[in-house]
């Protein structure tokens, strides 16, 4: 899999050179777009991150984890996973840190760690994506799509815990 990136760059650059594209000019123009794009994201990112930090710092994240863990256990989700499942929609780096924690604590080949890996890999940071994707739009009615994604992600967690038992 490590070959994908070098191969893509080689293929694109060689093809572009054959087509006589001014590669340096176009590449820098692309980076300029990236700079503009990143700047336009900062206000949304700042607001979302402040909300996430408050949620963590207020202890509500922990309280919610505790409150929901019996329900999680009933659905076959190990209680160690509850926090990962709850944090993932908000924070990619936070959930990655927590995933690493689970792997270190229980061992990479344990059932809990494998479940955690599959859950992490099959979900995304929903709130962050919604902020980035719709940053430029005036009218946004995103409650239904966000709810659909969260429900599906949760059901997938249940499935992941089942699949990891047999595979």
């Amino acid at each position: 899999m490590a070959y994908i990136v070098p191969v893509i760059f080689l293929a694109v650059f060689i093809f572009a050179a054959v087509k006589k594209v001014k590669i340096y000019d176009e590449f820098s123009a692309g980076v300029k777009d990236a700079a503009k794009f990143t700047l336009s994201l900062i206000p949304c990112l700042a607001a979302i991150f402040m909300m996430c930090e408050l949620f963590e710092a207020s202890g509500l994240a922990d309280r919610l984890t505790e409150f929901l863990s019996p329900a999680f256990a009933f659905l076959g989700i190990p209680k160690e996973l509850a926090k990962l499942v709850l944090i993932k929609p908000f924070s990619g780096s936070g959930s990655l840190a927590y995933l690493n924690d689970i792997i270190q604590t229980y061992g990479a080949d344990s059932y809990v760690a494998r479940c955690a890996c599959v859950c992490y890999g099959s979900s995304e940071t929903v709130f962050y994506i919604s902020a980035v994707y719709f940053a430029g739009l005036k009218q946004k009615k995103l409650a239904a799509p966000i709810a659909i994604v969260i429900v599906s992600t949760f059901l997938t967690t249940v499935l992941a815990c089942l699949v990891c038992r047999v595979m």
Partner: protein
């Protein structure tokens, strides 16, 4: 988003006011700081991928990829817009290849194009597909497990594939077959 933000913000601040009011400002500032760090990380990713994607675009390569995937994107997203189809095709290809960082700029461009024709259905479907993660190879997770001394780091490949396919299919199905007001 406004409602979600307001509710979580208010409830968290209220809880902090009761338990530890001195931590409120610290949390807000650290959130703002993290957003800038995140922006720096994102700029690095986007600089690499938007640089190369611009080269690919000018050489006609992305146009070719888009033509190949056009029958799929046109039917799935119900749009005839040339530029939107091209960006949609590139977003899907990047996702499937497992280079999620490259997929985001295409998605944002596609959403901008779709806005011109007020195609909210396609915008939301694109969000749902991306937010349920459609990667084929979970590179980050495999690398983490290998680093922790796993005997077979890649053995979660199949469970991951099953789950990621399930989550995307389920979310897309709920969205497409659910009440009409969800799609507008």
């Amino acid at each position: 988003m406004n409602a979600v933000f307001t509710v979580i913000f208010l409830v968290s601040v209220a809880a902090l006011a009761i338990s530890a009011p001195q931590n409120a400002l610290g949390a807000l500032l650290s959130g703002a700081e993290k957003s800038l760090k995140m922006a720096v990380t994102l700029f690095c990713i986007y600089a690499v991928w938007m640089g190369i994607s611009r080269v690919a675009e000018k050489s006609g390569l992305s146009g070719a990829a888009a033509r190949g995937l056009k029958p799929l994107t046109r039917r799935l997203f119900k749009t005839e817009n040339e530029a939107a189809n091209e960006n949609l095709a590139m977003n899907l290809s990047c996702n499937l290849l497992g280079i999620g960082g490259a997929a985001t700029p295409y998605a944002v461009k596609a959403i901008g194009e779709l806005e011109k024709e007020k195609n909210t259905f396609a915008q939301k479907l694109l969000f749902i597909i991306n937010a349920t993660s459609v990667q084929i190879v979970p590179t980050t997770v495999i690398a983490l497990r290998a680093a922790a001394g796993s005997a077979a780091a890649a053995d979660i490949f199949l469970p991951s594939l099953i789950c990621t396919a399930f989550s995307t299919a389920l979310a897309a199905a709920i969205f497409i077959f659910g009440p009409k007001k969800w799609r507008t």
